[in-house]
């Protein structure tokens, strides 16, 4: 398995509070991604990074921001959580854009 660690693995938070999910990789891969998984939608890309301080939006980026200050760390922030952001969030990494993506264990987020 790829060396990807997500934290926290489970979190319950209240509507309107900020939430930060962390992803740490030990593979030194250039590309990092945040996906959300919802029933009937598969996985949808939120944001991705192609290098330190280099990020771009994905398919469902509204309400989310990201930061990458080091190669190994990629943070996903929900500035003001809403119930529609209740989901399972997966961090992923890749060595080459468009090539195989390796996934972390997932973070279950519930917004009440």
């Amino acid at each position: 398995d790829a060396g990807i660690t997500q934290s926290p693995r489970h979190k319950v938070t209240e509507t309107g509070t900020p939430v930060t999910l962390r992803c740490h990789q030990t593979e030194n891969h250039r590309y990092m991604y945040w996906y959300r998984q919802d029933p009937g939608h598969g996985l949808r890309l939120i944001h991705y990074s192609y290098g330190v301080k280099d990020t771009d939006k994905g398919e469902v980026s509204d309400g989310y921001s990201v930061s990458r200050s080091k190669t190994e760390d990629f943070l996903l922030t929900l500035e003001s959580a809403t119930s529609s952001q209740t989901s399972v969030y997966f961090c992923a990494i890749s060595e080459v854009a468009g090539n195989t993506i390796y996934f972390g264990e997932g973070s279950w987020l519930t917004v009440v």
Binding site: L43, L45, D56, A97, G98, Y102
Partner: protein, 113 residues
């Protein structure tokens, strides 16, 4: 952007039955194609991938998939399923040097012992 359709939402089979899961994509250019599997409570793991060459690709655990360019399809097959194949299966498509990999909605496979 490309999109991916998986025709079956839930498939129920008995052990030893043959499996075929459909996947179609919409994109006219060069694509990379993937099948991922997600066992209950776990993360997605790569089953197999196709970039170029022989359109029949073999993956782990006896799975294979065939790329048919004219049909924009990449169907997953296994001759004889086992109870341990119970999982959700996702088809995905990307384009070379592009970070926007798109996933299908997934097909849940239940194998009855």
């Amino acid at each position: 952007a490309q999109s991916v359709s998986q025709h079956n939402h839930h498939v129920i089979l008995s052990e030893a039955a043959s499996l075929e899961l459909g996947c179609n994509y919409s994109y006219g250019g060069t694509v990379n194609l993937f099948w991922y599997v997600q066992y209950p409570g776990q993360h997605l793991q790569l089953l197999l991938k196709y970039f170029s060459g022989d359109p029949l690709v073999k993956g782990i655990k006896g799975f294979e998939a065939e790329f048919i360019k004219s049909k924009f399809s990449f169907n997953l097959r296994k001759p004889s399923v086992q109870w341990s194949d119970t999982a959700e299966y996702f088809c995905a498509v990307s384009t070379p040097n592009n970070n926007d990999m798109r996933f299908g909605a997934g097909t849940r496979l239940t194998v009855k012992p």
